[in-house]
């Protein structure tokens, strides 16, 4: 094909521009790019948005005092709606934007889907909220860390509370079929069976978003369970617990930190009363947590939401790790995260070889007069 001079000039010009542009995209600039990925819209946005606020506050503070080792931090915020199929897109987008480390993702399923992409790119993640045991214990994701305890550490207080304090003999275990809820439910079932103190009379998954849960509630009633353990998130939990109370069932309802959110109390209203949920330990006495909460109130004139403290801690741990390692290189930063202790709102923490935080745990809460109150 014969090219006219004009076309050829244009092509050359385009090629030159491309060549000039490419290195700019590939070479990381003078900033450290921290990605923040999680649910920022959709049903579960209330779990993801507090992390964005926490990251912004920490980053503003670090940048104000001159950045990490002289480099300013830049935040790249991406939404995954807690959907695994979107999380892979989110991860790819962040990696292509040259992200150095990531705070997130929020939900276990989405995190699991995104991890291989980050691993490939040598990017370290710290999640404030993904609690599936597999993420750390499978050993497949050396780039994964978290500032929240794993579900097996969450299922344990749930089961112990149900068997010992509530003295339930028959337990119904219900879950939402998701990675997080089902994983938690399976651990709870195993713990109950191994304890020998009670039996699991029902183990079933419900379809999230269904219009009506009365059939499963009738089934729980039929199983004569003394207590229900639910693994999943608050939209289904509030529907199931409201339906139980409507059917005049007073069976104890015990759930997890996916339910420990003020939206649950707001939506379930009076039916939320006396519901038990586990959640990260109460840190209200920790001066760092007080300072972090005060900073949030000052900047956003609202109380922080779910996982705020663990996100704040994740950001602090990352900043500290990068400072000590002097790099965002995966091997160097992993080592720093594992060895350097850091003071955070959730306590003085470091990470074990699997990536789980040492020094955090779960406590049991009950809803009393519209508030989560820690029970012993």
């Amino acid at each position: 094909m014969e090219l006219t001079t004009r076309t050829r000039n244009l092509v050359t010009l385009a090629a030159v521009i491309l060549v000039l542009l490419l290195p700019g995209a590939a070479v990381a600039g003078d900033t450290i790019r921290i990605g923040v990925a999680g649910a920022h819209s959709g049903d579960l946005a209330s779990y993801g948005l507090p992390t964005v606020n926490a990251a912004r506050l920490v980053v503003n503070e670090v940048n104000a005092r001159g950045g990490i080792n002289g480099k300013k931090i830049e935040l790249l915020i991406e939404d995954d709606m807690c959907k695994p199929e979107l999380a892979t897109n989110t991860a790819t987008k962040l990696v292509s934007q040259g992200v150095d480390v990531v705070i997130g993702h929020i939900c276990s399923g989405a995190t699991k889907a995104a991890l291989p992409i980050y691993k490939e790119a040598g990017v370290i993640l710290i999640s404030p909220s993904a609690t599936s045991p597999e993420l750390t214990q499978s050993g497949q994701y050396p780039n994964f860390f978290r500032t929240i305890a794993s579900d097996d550490r969450q299922a344990k207080p749930e089961v112990e509370y149900v068997l010992n304090v509530l003295a339930a003999k028959k337990v119904a275990v219900i879950h939402d079929k998701g990675d997080y809820g089902k994983g938690l439910a399976e651990i709870a079932r195993k713990l109950i069976q191994d304890s020998g103190k009670g039996e699991v009379v029902l183990f079933e998954g419900v379809t999230p978003g269904a219009v009506d849960y009365s059939a499963i509630v009738q089934k729980i009633k039929q199983s004569q369970a003394d207590a229900v353990i639910f693994g999943g998130y608050h939209p289904e939990a509030s529907k199931i617990v409201s339906m139980m109370r409507k059917k005049r069932m007073n069976t104890a309802f015990v759930s997890d930190d996916g339910v420990k959110d003020n939206t649950f109390i707001k939506v379930a209203g009076k039916d939320a009363e006396r519901v038990y949920v586990t959640g990260p330990r109460d840190n209200s006495q920790n001066p760092l947590a007080q300072a972090a909460n005060a900073a949030h109130k000052k900047s956003y004139s609202a109380d922080p939401g779910a996982f705020y403290e663990s996100s704040y801690s994740a950001a602090l741990a990352l900043v500290n790790g990068i400072e000590k390692a002097g790099s965002t290189d995966m091997a160097l930063l992993s080592k720093a995260l594992q060895t350097e202790k850091v003071d955070t709102p959730v306590g003085t923490i470091h990470f074990d070889e699997n990536g789980d935080a040492v020094g955090v745990g779960f406590a049991m809460y009950q809803v009393r007069e519209g508030k989560f109150v820690e029970v012993k």
């Binding site: 819209s41 959709g42 379809t207 978003g209 059939a215 009738q218 009633k221 529907k239 379930a268 209203g269």
Partner: protein, 300 residues
Amino acid sequence: MDYFIELFCSGLTRGAIYALIALGYTMVYGIIGLINFAHGEIYMIGAFTAFIVATVLSIYGFPLAAIVVVTGISAAIWSSAYGYTVEKIAYKPLRNAPRLTPLISAIGMSILLQNYVLLAQTSDFLPFPELIPEFAFMEPVAHIIGSSDLVILVTTAISMLLLTLFIKFTRLGKAMRATAQDKTMALLVGINVDRVISATFIVGSLLAAIGGLLIASHIGQINFAIGFIAGIKAFTAAVLGGIGSIPGAVLGSLILGLTESFATGYVSSDYEDVFAFSLLVLILIFKPSGLLGRANIGKV
């Protein structure tokens, strides 16, 4: 036996919920042969309108009965306005386009409306006020069937009856049937087809709004995404019963609800959807036009 009755009642409630939405679906399809995928979103908008109006009214301390009436009327008007507008914007310009075009346009409308409510309102779940009181006479059977279940069942039955009478005996109903049979011929005998189709959308949206009000009050929470799953299930029910047929939509919904309920009760709720959709496949294999549908060639 008690357990069977309990599951039966659960299934009926669920079926009636589907039916309230399916009626609008099937009616629009019956008249203009369009699967209006935005119908679930009209239902969601009805629920949101009801939420806003009911919340405002209860702040001013109106009595419950007044709240229910005013909320119902405003949700119906608002949803109808949306239904009417959606038809004018997304379907009317495509009236003579190939059948798939308005279908795609409907899906687009559905996504648009969802995201519009997400942005204009919130992504959080909102607590919907309990508009249906707990009736004292229902107390002895409250553990089996609640007051809101009863209200939904009765409303569905009345809606089905009124809709059938409306289409059979009113002038507008006759015009609708004529339009359904042959649009060109209807034009030739002096029927204003555009007006008839607009009226169809208004009636369908009105039903969706009533559904939104009752169902949201029954479930106790709403968010921008509730229309999608409810819409898909109601659509399934309408197809099961024979899309285009009004008694068929109710029958299909009840069968779908009962199947799901018994599957949960006697097998496992893990397989609830498997049973529901296997049933759909089976019925469509043996009766492709649905249970009460007339065989109709050439419609999507």
